[in-house]
Structure formats: C-alpha cells, structure tokens
C-alpha cells in the first residue's frame, strides 16, 4: 500500500502480471487491445497511444508507456516516449511530451530534479504515477494511491483528462 515517505518496492513479476491481467479487461471496458491500439511488448509493459486536443480542434499524437513492475501496491510507471524509439531522451525527445496547465492535480516536468533524482527525469507529477512516489513528492493523504480501490484506469484517466481543453496547450517546446 502506498504510504507517505515510504520508498516504493517492486512487486514480484508474477504477482504484478496477475494484477495487470485481472485489471486489463476492466479498464478496456469490453474492447480488445488491438481495437484501442494498445501494445503489450512484454508482460509488464503497455504502450498506449493518446491524443492531445488543441483549442483549435487539431490533435497531437503521443505514446504513453505504462510499466507495472510495482503494481498493484503502487501505481504504474507512466512515461511519454518517442513513438519511434519508444524511449525518452532529454532534451532530444522533449517535443514528444504534452504541455498542459491549470490542473492542480497533475503537472508535466520534462526533467524534474530534486535530492532523490539529481540527474533529472521525466515526471508526470500526479499521485497516480509511480514516479511521483519515487521522487518523494509531497502528497495529501487523501490523494494517495489506494491499491484496494484504484487500478491503472486512475492513472490513464488522470492523464487523458489534461490532454483535453482547457488544460492542453500543445507539445512541449525544446
């Protein structure tokens, strides 16, 4: 169970796969992976295409990678990646990250630095992502990931929400 000030601990791969397998059909709501364009390159990773809806009606395409190595006690790792390389290299791949503003529950950092990650890392700063806990971000207890209640739909829907208006502003500038 996620706790304030506690370092996330990886789950055993077998248990994490069981959790992901059980939650996947619920999150997909009756659709198949291929119908929604999702890929599962290994048992603990999903690639999920997402669209940012600009104010002028145009869309920008993104690729979100979720990794379930700590799941379900902790939320999935969530990282936007370059869709060609499936990696994120700062600063080359910054434009593959969305820019959104105005939602107090989630923010995007292209290279977040603090004592726990002095080298900097991409951070989707939201209590529904693993990285939020890895960097030991401050959190109100009521916002903690609750593995007895939440599944990775919470992660995905929090991110999808800020790819809509009025939050979404376009791609990150290099």
């Amino acid at each position: 169970m996620a706790e304030i000030g506690k370092d996330p601990v990886p789950n055993t791969p077998a248990d994490a796969v069981v959790a992901l397998d059980s939650h996947l059909p619920i999150v997909l709501r009756g659709k198949t992976m291929s119908e929604v364009g999702w890929e599962r390159p290994d048992l603990l990773t999903l690639y999920i295409p997402l669209s940012g809806q600009r104010a002028d009606g145009k869309e920008d395409e993104y690729m979100l990678r979720l990794n379930f190595g700590y799941y379900p006690e902790w939320p999935p790792s969530a990282q936007f990646v370059n869709p060609q390389t499936k990696q994120y290299l700062y600063p080359d791949d910054v434009s593959w990250l969305p820019h959104f503003e105005g939602n107090s529950g989630i923010a995007m950092h292209t290279a977040y630095k603090n004592e726990s990650c002095p080298q900097g890392r991409q951070l989707i700063c939201c209590s529904m992502t693993l990285e939020f806990y890895l960097v030991r971000h401050g959190v109100d207890p009521r916002h903690l990931w609750n593995s007895k209640r939440d599944n990775f739909a919470a992660t995905l829907n929090a991110i999808r929400g800020v790819l809509q208006q009025p939050y979404y502003k376009g791609r990150q500038a290099r």
Binding site: S104, C125, F132, V139, D140, N151, A153, N157, A158, G161
Partner: protein
C-alpha cells in the same frame, strides 16, 4: 427486444443511466426516475459501484463536462437544457500533483 424494453422504461419515466468510476473504469447501469436530480443520481451511483464518496470527487458527463453547477437539476432538465441527453456520466476523483 432490449431496445423495446428500454423505450418502455423511458416512457414509464425511469430511463437507464450509466456512471463510470474513473479510478477503476467500473460502471454502474441502473434505472432512475426522470425527476431525480443529478445529485441523487450521483449518490445512487456510489452505492451501485460499492464506492465511498471522497472529498474532491466530481460528477461529469462522459465527455468531460462538469455537472457540479447542475447538481440540483433533474435528469429531464439536463436533457431539455442540452447538458446531457444520453444520461452517461462519470465520477472523477481528485489527484495530488502539481
């Protein structure tokens, strides 16, 4: 057959509503009177979903429009005022971050 049943329910004054809980993507589908408010529908959905209401939760249409200013409106008013014609809703929970 199901469509016919649903039409009869609508004519009888108890249309189907669908509410998705965005922290899990679980949904609840239930019949409720046109005279019930958005607030009553929201409260019923928690019971059907087996979830507890938390501070900061928001009630929305499934295309993301907030229903928080309209909680006192009935389902028929939501329909007539073109706020929600299809009675498909979602519950969004607050997160911490920015």
């Amino acid at each position: 057959m199901n469509d016919q049943k649903e039409t009869k329910h609508e004519q009888d004054g108890e249309p189907m509503v669908e509410v998705i809980y965005l922290n899990t993507n679980e949904d609840a589908k239930f019949h409720t009177p046109w005279s019930h408010t958005a607030q009553q529908t929201w409260d019923t959905a928690y019971a059907k979903l087996g979830e507890q209401k938390k501070t900061g939760d928001q009630f929305e249409t499934q295309d993301g429009k907030s229903l928080m200013p309209y909680l006192a409106l009935t389902l028929s008013q939501l329909r007539d005022q073109h706020i929600s014609a299809n009675r498909k809703f979602q519950i969004k929970c607050e997160t911490g971050g920015a």
